[in-house]
């Protein structure tokens, strides 16, 4: 009888193992589940917490398709596959043909990162960010380069700016670079350093594997306790909690962040989102407004004000004051001029409205290629 029962016990063990494996695998996307020799090796290392080695193994499995120039004019695939010379040749060829192209420059920056020429990598992405300060790939690469140079604060700022757009970037290597950096900052056999930066890196990795949300929370709590950029640590803590549907706790974290740093526009914006999830309109309004007040030159924070203060609340008085501040700080902001015109009209100031409409039209014409 015991032999027969042991067969049943074995079936139970198999099912339990399958449930555990499924629960773990269902948290990941295909970034960490790759059907190749290096992919399986990477997964094994990844699951054992050896992130730096796992990242290198995953990268070894990328870009093995032998694409020619026509398929890979930016050199991104050649670079991902480790063929740096080919990648550089392709990127430079494309840059000769299209000098303003973004992607080949990103490839050159990635090559510089692989060759550990971090200042050069930073300079290359710096040129791109001067043209487009919200380019997600460029921001993430600049964060990696800055972190490698030991500029944790600047790296965190770049990660926050990149992630506020809600997508993880297009380059396949970005996630493995972040994983490698996280692994090197917190080696399995040694103590972790740069706790707040680690919290941000794991917040980014959470997009591909939800388990990193727990790690990000743990590092954020340690960073807060250690006084390592606590406002940013609270922001990361709140974002992960908010993504998990825990809006009430997230809001408390965002409020802690703004209590520490009164000018933390991103924490205000997230507090506004958490207030929306909690169906607290007054707080949502106050936080959206505070975000733009904290960063009047950052056009990204116009949208929440337009949505909440202007369109939903219809508060023309506050909209006019906020937009006036925005155009004072950045007179070339056409959208703020348009919003100010709308608010002025609602306040019964047609002359003021016409003046700002005219200015907005001028700015749009000047920017238009035709």
């Amino acid at each position: 009888m015991f032999r027969r029962l042991s067969v049943l016990a074995l079936a139970i063990i198999l099912m339990a193992l399958w449930i555990v494996a499924y629960q773990r695998a269902s948290l990941m996307d295909s970034t960490f589940l790759r059907l190749s020799g290096p992919g399986v090796r990477g997964l094994t290392l990844y699951l054992s917490g050896r992130y730096a080695e796992a990242a290198r193994a995953y990268r070894a499995g990328l870009g093995r398709w032998g694409l020619d120039y026509n398929d890979d004019p930016w050199g991104a695939d050649a670079m991902a596959g480790g063929e740096l010379a080919v990648a550089e040749r392709r990127a430079r060829t494309t840059l000769t043909l299209v000098p303003a192209a973004f992607e080949p420059r990103l490839t050159l920056s990635e090559i510089a990162l692989d060759q550990r020429r971090f200042p050069a990598a930073l300079e290359l992405v710096g040129e791109l960010l001067a043209r487009d300060p919200d380019h997600v790939d460029a921001l993430l690469l600049s964060a990696i380069a800055r972190a490698r140079l030991g500029h944790d604060g600047a790296a965190i700022t770049a990660i926050n700016r990149a992630l506020r757009h809600g997508h993880p970037g297009r380059r396949r290597t970005l996630v493995y670079r972040a994983l490698e950096l996280a692994g090197e900052l917190a080696p399995p056999e040694g103590p972790a350093r740069s706790l707040c930066l680690l919290a941000h890196l794991h917040r980014y990795l959470r997009i591909h594997d939800d388990i990193h949300g727990d790690i990000a929370i743990a590092y954020a709590r340690r960073a807060i306790a250690a006084g390592d950029r606590p406002a940013d640590a609270y922001l990361t803590l709140g974002i992960v909690l908010n993504r998990r549907g825990r809006a009430l706790e997230a809001l408390q974290a965002f409020q802690q962040a703004v209590a520490i740093d009164r000018q933390h526009a991103e924490a205000y914006r997230w507090a506004s989102q958490a207030a929306r999830d909690l169906k607290e309109p007054v707080l949502q309004y106050q936080m959206a407004r505070a975000a733009l007040e904290a960063a009047p030159t950052d056009r990204f924070y116009l949208a929440p004000v337009e949505r909440v203060v202007m369109n939903w609340f219809g508060d023309a008085r506050t909209t006019a004051a906020l937009m006036q501040r925005a155009v004072d700080a950045d007179p070339a902001n056409a959208r703020a001029h348009e919003n100010l015109a709308r608010a002025a009209r609602a306040l019964g100031q047609p002359d003021r409205a016409a003046a700002h409409e005219g200015r907005a039209a001028e700015l749009r014409r000047a920017r238009s290629p035709l």
Binding site: M1, I12, Q23, K279, E280
Partner: protein, 352 residues
């Protein structure tokens, strides 16, 4: 056949009865939440439903494990354990091949039988398989325990008697639960009364995570805004209610859609945010919120609450004195509704 022998025959179908009971308990467990009653006891009753469903599964397994299989099944029953093991292994292999099978299922296949088989296999989801495996593991662990007990203490008459008594007690509990389920479901399903709004505010929301990421079981403590300001606990339904765990702050104004119930037992159809009271709060904090005020005035007009309109129009004119057209339009509406005094007062406030 006499009635007595018929009842005796039905009762002899022990496994069938247990399976039917399990189905009924599962059914009422699912629908009772939707027909919820206010009160802490009901929260406990819904939670007890989960436990009773697990108990019904154990009763089914116990009856199958201890039953003497019919003659036709005896050759198979002799090899039940290896067959169960092989079934588990086959499901594991199927789960590994699922991405491939789902790919094949997306292709239009000429053979209808093959197409159906592939379709069924592709429909097996990892989450579904997790639930099946969790229930199967629980059932098999129970079988092992039963077999061990049978082989050791099962020879004692007292133990066998206790086993039979426990089985009957479990069945009695399940039958009682199903009867309560029938009553409560009929009270709500046959109810033709219109929903009556009840204003309340949230005091606290709590929840328990269900295993295998199946969701949450949540409830809220609410305080009535009307006297005698009762405090009650209510089960929350995801997808039906505006409020839920981790996403509702204490103090949130809510409206309960109350129904009288077919047997006179009041039940709660839905819990939604009280947008009117929320708008009043917004306007107290931000008097210049013209958009919110206009929406509130529109709702007051729809509900013909004429007396409440004038103070809002006056407040609007204080913030936006040039908005003549809107104020005059409302004055005309009030006049048409027979509230000439309010209309005149508004017209006087409008700058000429």
């Amino acid at each position: 056949m006499s009635l007595r022998s018929l009842v005796g025959r039905v009762l002899s179908l022990r496994v069938m009865i247990a399976v039917v009971l399990m189905g009924l308990v599962g059914y009422y467990m699912c629908i009772l939440g939707a027909y919820r009653l206010p009160g802490a006891w009901f929260v406990l009753a819904v939670a007890a439903g989960f436990a009773l469903f697990a108990l019904s599964l154990l009763v089914v397994v116990e009856r199958i494990a201890l039953a003497r299989p019919p003659a036709a099944l005896q050759p198979v029953a002799a090899h039940a354990e290896p067959l169960i093991f092989l079934l588990v292994v086959n499901l594991l292999i199927l789960s590994l091949l699922l991405p491939v099978i789902q790919g094949i299922a997306a292709v239009p296949l000429p053979d209808s039988v093959f197409r159906r088989v592939v379709g069924v296999a592709a429909a097996v989801s990892g989450r579904g398989l997790s639930i099946v495996f969790a229930l199967a593991a629980l059932a098999l662990a129970w079988v092992i325990l039963l077999r061990l007990l049978q082989a050791t203490v099962g020879r004692w008459t007292l133990f066998r008697w206790m086993g039979r008594a426990l089985d009957r007690l479990a069945v009695a509990l399940l039958v009682l639960y199903c009867l309560a389920g029938v009553t409560l479901a009929s009270n709500s399903a046959l109810d033709t009364s219109p929903p009556v709004p009840r204003r309340a505010e949230i005091l606290a929301v709590a929840s328990v995570e269900l295993p295998l990421r199946l969701g949450q079981f949540a409830w809220a403590d609410l305080r009535d805004l009307e006297p005698p300001h009762r405090t009650e606990r209510l089960v929350l339904l995801r997808g039906q209610d505006d409020v839920g765990p981790h996403r509702t702050a204490p103090g949130q104004p809510v409206r309960l859609a109350m129904r009288a119930g077919h047997f006179g037992v009041p039940w709660v159809q839905a819990v939604s945010v009280d947008h009117q009271r929320q708008a009043e709060r917004v306007l107290a904090a931000v008097p210049a919120a013209a958009g919110v005020r206009r929406a509130l005035i529109a709702e007051l007009l729809r509900e013909r609450r004429w007396r409440e309109i004038r103070p809002h129009v006056e407040a609007h004119l204080r913030e936006y004195p040039h908005d003549r057209e809107y104020a005059l339009k409302l004055a005309r509406a009030l006049e048409t509704a027979g509230h000439a005094a309010d209309a005149t007062a508004i017209t006087r406030l409008v700058p000429q």
